[in-house]
């Protein structure tokens, strides 16, 4: 049983999802949150050092990364957890599936529409602040900041993909939201603690070989490495080079890992959805 993919059907679903997020002011709200946080961080990010006001783009990006790593996964999971299970509870899933559309097309349409909403908020929210800062900065700073925004979008998509997967597996919305929050706790809070614990228990033995690869198994860590490694000023600050070899810190490779994090949960979701 083979199914051709009709991009038009995916586009129709995606457009409807996007339109709903614009209509219920989701995009506006999240854009505002991102703008506000970015502004505060840009101007007060180095307050601990006794200086208020914008200091350097590298410190600003490093601070934004620490914020975004908590915020974006949470927002993405909240955005996506009811993608399928919500339609099911509304009774509209059967109706959608009775249309000339395959389950994969529905899933991709949902994912891409929600991704567009999240990407829109991310780019507008951080982009606005980027423009405000941009006047006095050299091109290299622009490059880093653009990289930060792009990787933020990818981070959002990775967690959105996980959320859509949860929403296919969950029996109802309550369980789906529970699953989404559990994923957030695991990837954002618990995972690094476990790695740290492993390091301590093994007396540092895992550090050299397994550790860098274990970091790749968490999209939030991939995001952190992607952003921090390019910044000379903060790399030593984070002590990253001690645990992460330079040869793995290639943006192409890390980007590919991120894409895998976007694709795999969706593939699992599609497999489950077709049952």
């Amino acid at each position: 049983m083979t199914f051709a993919i009709e991009p038009k059907q995916i586009g129709i679903i995606a457009a409807k999802e996007f339109r709903e997020r614009i209509r219920n002011r989701w995009v506006l709200a999240v854009t505002t949150v991102f703008t506000a946080f970015a502004l505060v961080i840009a101007y007060f990010g180095s307050a601990q050092q006794g200086a208020v006001g914008f200091s350097s783009i590298e410190v600003t990006i490093a601070s934004l990364v620490s914020l975004v790593i908590y915020l974006i996964p949470l927002i993405a999971l909240i955005l996506g957890f009811d993608a399928i299970v919500g339609e099911r509870e509304r009774g509209s899933l059967d109706l959608l599936l009775s249309m000339p559309i395959t389950r994969l097309e529905l899933l991709l349409g949902k994912f891409l529409g929600l991704s567009a909403a999240l990407a829109c908020s991310t780019v507008m929210g951080f982009g606005l602040v980027g423009l405000l800062l941009g006047f006095k900065l050299p091109p290299s700073a622009w490059y880093h900041y653009a990289g930060f925004m792009l990787s933020s979008v990818l981070l959002g998509m990775a967690f959105l993909s996980l959320a859509v997967m949860v929403s296919v597996f969950a029996a109802d919305r309550t369980r789906a939201s529970g699953g989404a929050i559990a994923l957030w706790f695991f990837f954002v809070l618990v995972y690094d603690l476990i790695l740290l614990g492993a390091l301590v228990v093994s007396g540092g033995a895992v550090a050299t070989d397994a550790f860098p690869y274990l970091l790749l198994l968490n999209p939030a860590d991939v995001f952190r490495i992607l952003n921090i490694f390019g910044l000379e000023e903060v790399r030593t600050l984070y002590g990253l080079t001690t645990v992460f070899p330079e040869r793995l810190a290639n943006p192409g490779l890390l980007g590919a890992v991120m894409l895998a994090w976007i694709t795999l949960p969706l593939a699992v979701a599609n497999w489950k959805f077709r049952q």
């Binding site: 409807k16 059967d94 109706l95 009775s98």
Partner: protein
């Protein structure tokens, strides 16, 4: 022989130990209005979902318009198929018109159809309002408009009149009649027999996943051979004469309750009883004939 639009052969669906649908055979011909009757949980919706390829059957085969319901070939069929699910809640933040346009795009239907369809179901005034503010009946109308997109050859309507007021129900059946005269095949479910018995060509009665009976309303009545009842008011003395005749008839029985005389009779005794009444020649002051309703048939089968 007429063209079979829906063919269901020995279809079964288990959920764990629960047998939701159990060995159902069904064929609906082109242009027919077919009713599926049963209590909640009888398996009607499950059968519907299998016919639409929404859930896989445990065993058996279904063909809609000649195509198996799972597979790429069915995408072609879906374009000519209208479905109104039970209790659908649409998207709060889209207007009625936007909702309809969304489904029209998915179906590849001209967007110009949307406004006239909303007019047809009486939602023109609310077309630009968000669905969030719609009443249950309005959502049901919107769902019906959605099912009519693209003039479907085949309509699946699951409990289509829930939430509609009496006027809405009349309106619904008026549109259904129009669809029928345009050549659509229609299959609808209901648990309200009296509402659909006059409006379907044939019907099937489902109970605990099985089809208990299938046929026209008339054939089901005849198959059940439920007794008819004549209720009479007679001129004094006439009942003695009537009793004398009725006592000679096979399958008829007379009882008296004060002024009221009742004759219970089997279907085959209907004409002889009528002839006996004619022989009373004007001494009948009132006559009521109770035909068994489909409700009685239904209760007889599945009560």
């Amino acid at each position: 022989m007429a063209n079979k639009v829906i063919e269901v052969h020995q279809i079964t669906k288990h959920y764990g130990l629960i047998q939701a649908v159990d060995g159902v055979d069904l064929a609906v011909e082109a242009g027919e209005v077919f009713g599926l009757i049963g209590h909640n949980g009888a398996g009607k919706s499950t059968l519907f979902k299998m016919m639409l390829g929404l859930i896989p059957a445990t065993s058996g085969e279904i063909r809609i318009d000649g195509a198996p319901v799972r597979g790429e070939e069915f995408r072609r069929v879906r374009r000519h198929l209208g479905y109104l699910p039970e209790n659908v809640v649409f998207y709060d933040n889209l207007s009625g018109l936007e909702t309809l346009a969304f489904f029209a795009r998915l179906k590849g239907v001209d967007l110009g159809e949307c406004a006239p369809l909303l007019e047809r179901v009486g939602l023109t005034a609310a077309a630009k309002r968000r669905v969030k503010g719609y009443s249950k009946g309005m959502r049901q109308r919107l769902g019906f408009a959605q099912a009519l997109l693209g003039k479907p050859k085949l309509l699946f309507l699951d409990e289509p009149t829930t939430g509609l007021d009496p006027e809405g129900i009349r309106e619904f059946y008026r549109i259904l009649k129009e669809m029928r005269s345009e050549g659509a095949t229609i299959i609808l479910t209901s648990h309200i027999l009296s509402e659909i018995q006059e409006r379907v060509d044939r019907l099937a009665i489902m109970k605990t996943g099985k089809i208990q009976a299938i046929g026209t309303v008339q054939s089901l009545r005849e198959k059940m051979a439920l007794p008819l009842r004549f209720e009479l008011r007679l001129a004094p003395g006439a009942e003695i004469e009537l009793r004398r005749i009725v006592d000679t008839l096979e399958g008829a029985e007379l009882s008296e309750d004060g002024e009221r005389v009742t004759v219970h009779c089997q279907r085959e005794a209907k004409m002889p009883v009528l002839q006996a009444l004619a022989a009373l020649d004007g001494r009948i002051s009132d006559l009521l004939i109770h035909e068994p309703s489909l409700e009685d048939v239904f209760l007889g089968y599945s009560g």
